[in-house]
Symmetry: C2
Subunit: 158 residues, 2 copies
């Protein structure tokens, strides 16, 4: 790890070792961030853009660095938009569990369950809800194809 | 309204008429956005930064415009951070109900209920939960003072 890493941060660890990840996870290597396909695909196309550096608030970095990072988030969002054609993308960096900058990009579709609410409300009872569990398992099957299509889209724009 | 407004968009309407809003709502007029104190203060210091233009996805605008907007979001977040000293700020632009760019900035404290989860999970049952309703009402009292303190902070940096 280099100077910008925090030894106890799981996302510092992830971006440092990302090349060892399975093919079903890494989507794109940007200059300031790495994009991963979300660990679950209840909302197909869900990606996470993780900053390479350990940044914990938006105001900690220079305007130039923030701009470069947000350009990458926007580029990833555009690729998702082209592939899964959502009605809207939700952009979220919460950091309640892991503060290291990571933008959740959730493509939201017209026929999403609970479409007017945040994804966290829908997912809260997933462990006890067989219908939701079934959707989660079904959506999981498309991971590899999704990654290939997202990469194809990013390849064209880079 | 000007060319960048959508007639049926409630946030276009809000930013166009913001000067007519009550003193307990407007926090700051930025060049590309207007910051409002959140309509409820369950998380004291919660603000919403609304783009002046009708933007519905991060990739719709130029890098320069995105950068200017995100600088304003960062500046608002820094002021919130200085005033309420949270453990983390949640940055969220969902747009499920109103797509027009508006960043929710939720300061999250160490003693927050459900501190590891998104605010939407905590708030989902508020109408039927007297304890949560009481917290909401209690936090509502500090609006005017919060706005004054946030403005004082932004005044110093502008």
């Amino acid at each position: 790890m280099d100077d910008s890493c925090m030894p106890s941060c799981p996302l510092c660890d992830k971006v440092f070792h990302y090349q060892a990840l399975s093919a079903g996870e890494l989507v794109w290597e940007f200059g300031h961030s790495i994009a991963f396909l979300g660990p679950w695909q209840y909302y197909p196309g869900y990606c996470i853009v993780v900053a390479r550096k350990h940044i914990t608030e938006l105001f900690e970095i220079s305007s130039a660095e923030r701009s470069a990072l947000m350009d990458e988030v926007a580029e990833m969002a555009e690729a998702i938009h082209q592939i899964v054609k959502p009605r809207k993308i939700n952009y979220e960096w919460l950091g309640n569990q892991v503060p290291h900058m990571h933008w959740h990009l959730f493509p939201r579709q017209e026929n999403d369950p609970n479409k007017l609410k945040a994804v966290w409300v829908e997912l809260e009872d997933i462990e006890s809800n067989p219908e939701k569990k079934a959707r989660m398992e079904f959506c999981e099957r498309g991971r590899d194809k999704l990654i290939q299509r997202l990469r194809g889209c990013l390849n064209k724009s880079n």
